[in-house]
């Protein structure tokens, strides 16, 4: 029982971590919360449903399709909703944030229009396959989700830490001006970051669809708010914080359902924000702002 719940929690948490990474990357380079990230994530889930259910194509095609579409959405978001507002005189620093809220409303309505308001099941050929180890039941789908998430996190960590483009992203996140003095084309780096973050959102969308066997146009908002809670918990802009924060939230939600009251499940995230803001406002891995 405990181990089963632990596995459930880790599966959920690893998806949360992927969603939160999308937020934290964009926050790192642009200093804004991308309120459209949840809706891009939701679009990824719908693309997955369309490809697997309507076209009857295999799961890897669904991932590929979702990555491509959400990457394009990321490109459009940066190019037309964010870049025109940057470095303009008289533009409030809140303008990009509000712009992403506008995009999120647009995308949610668009998905109502395209996919309908109802609940779509997410069928995978292996949804029913499970393993029995002693008294523990593990579903194959959980293993797939967990492995994909962990691989994605490892790849991202390696990419940020060791590659030229990843280092350019970190330099840009730390100080845009310095990065440009060191030869980084910061415009390109920002564009690349928003695209990568969006594609990760798309992947997370499919993972959530698989985990809950349900995709709706409203799923973006609640996941978006949880992603926000996680990066506040982990520290704004911190990659490690997003990963750990996601796992903590996934485990906490699972255990409150089992050992507490399932009604409080969605409250956990926001309770965590309140506690963290009271005792460690910079988050688990955040830097204290100093001059």
């Amino acid at each position: 029982m405990l181990i089963e719940q632990l596995i459930n929690g880790l599966t959920l948490g690893s998806i949360y971590a992927i969603v939160a990474l999308g937020f934290t990357l964009v926050f790192g380079v642009l200093g804004i919360i991308n309120m459209a990230h949840g809706e891009i994530f939701m679009f990824g889930a719908f693309i997955g449903v369309m490809i697997t259910s309507t076209l009857n194509a295999p799961l890897w095609v669904a991932f590929l399709g979702a990555i491509i579409i959400t990457a394009i959405m990321g490109y459009l978001l940066e190019r037309f909703a964010l870049r025109p507002l940057r470095h303009k005189q008289g533009v409030s620093h809140l303008a990009p944030l509000i712009s992403t809220i506008g995009v999120s409303i647009l995308l949610e309505n668009l998905s109502h229009h395209l996919f309908g308001a109802g609940n779509h099941p997410f069928r995978t050929s292996f949804a029913e396959i499970s393993f029995q180890i002693g008294s523990i039941t593990i579903y194959l789908v959980q293993i797939v989700i967990f492995v994909i998430s962990i691989v994605l996190m490892l790849v991202l960590t390696f990419w940020l830490g060791k590659t030229r483009a990843g280092k350019a992203l970190r330099a840009t996140a730390e100080n845009l001006e310095t990065a440009s003095l060191l030869g980084v084309d910061t415009k390109k780096t920002i564009l690349m970051t928003v695209i990568i973050a969006s594609a990760m959102g798309g992947i997370a969308g499919i993972l959530v669809g698989m985990a809950f066997n349900s995709v709706t146009p409203q799923m973006g908002l609640s996941m978006g708010l949880k992603g926000l809670a996680i990066i506040i918990l982990g520290g704004m802009g911190s990659v490690r914080g997003a990963m750990l924060g996601g796992l903590i939230l996934g485990l906490a939600e699972t255990f409150i359902v089992v050992y507490g009251d399932s009604g409080y499940r969605d409250a956990i995230a926001f309770l965590a924000i309140i506690i963290i803001l009271l005792i460690r406002p910079q988050g688990l891995f955040g830097q204290k702002i100093s001059t």
Partner: protein, 236 residues
């Protein structure tokens, strides 16, 4: 090598530079002197591309480079060590140095890196440490070393001695002189007038956004009127 002619630049509605011109010949060290708020850093930001001049022209090696971005100017050979060093605090010393060579694709990056660590043993000692944990003087050395990693033809240094202990300042000026002797042209902005002029070939004096004097360094050093009016009386 570098020719700045009649540039105007500022921030929003505030005009800081009014018709500033200067020239840097290849192989020399040129210093821009002036009090706080005279426009020294604004001049450096304009030459490095952080700030687009609203009028005037900047040419480098005979080519018009007015209005280019910092990353484009770096590829042409202009590197800036900015005011306050601007070390990437969350990256290691080694990563900071590697970022200096970001735009290079040649095969000598590693050997340059090793040379730099040999030249600055303190950086080698701390290569795995985060940039933000270094002292001010070490950060300045890292900032200079990082800029050299880009193999610049023209090195711009904005107040390299700011906030450093006198002994460290002497060290920094010695390093600048060495960099120049190894073939890099240097444009320097300093409040530490006497020490800067001592290693320079030529100097300009800025006052409230205008060039008010210029001449070769020894002339300026011996010009009592200029030394008193603009550079303070403290001798070092």
């Amino acid at each position: 090598m570098l020719e700045v002619s009649g540039i105007h630049a500022g921030y929003g509605k505030i005009q800081v530079l009014k018709d500033v011109s200067l020239e840097v010949e290849e192989g020399t060290i040129v210093t821009i002197l002036g009090a706080n708020g005279a426009g020294k850093s604004t001049t450096m930001k304009s030459v490095s591309g952080l700030l687009k001049p609203s009028a005037g022209k900047i040419s480098f090696l005979g080519e018009d480079v007015t209005g280019l971005r910092p990353d484009q100017l770096l590829r042409k050979g202009i590197a800036l060590v900015p005011e306050g060093r601007q070390i990437l605090a969350g990256m290691t010393v080694l990563e900071n140095l590697e970022m200096g060579a970001y735009h290079r694709k040649d095969s000598e990056i590693d050997s340059d890196l090793n040379k730099m660590l040999e030249r600055f043993p303190i950086l080698k000692e701390r290569e795995k440490q985060l940039g933000g944990t270094l002292s001010g003087g070490q950060q300045q050395m890292l900032a200079i070393a990082r800029a050299i990693m880009s193999r610049p033809k023209l090195l711009l240094l904005d107040e390299p001695s700011m906030g450093l202990a006198p002994l460290v300042v002497a060290d920094i000026f010695k390093i600048i002189k060495e960099i120049n002797q190894s073939g890099t042209t240097v444009l320097l902005v300093e409040q530490n007038a006497r020490q800067a002029l001592k290693i320079s070939d030529k100097g300009y004096v800025l006052e409230t956004g205008k060039m008010v004097a210029s001449g070769n360094a020894t002339e300026l050093l011996s010009d009592a009127r200029i030394m008193e009016a603009y550079l303070g009386k403290r001798s070092s």
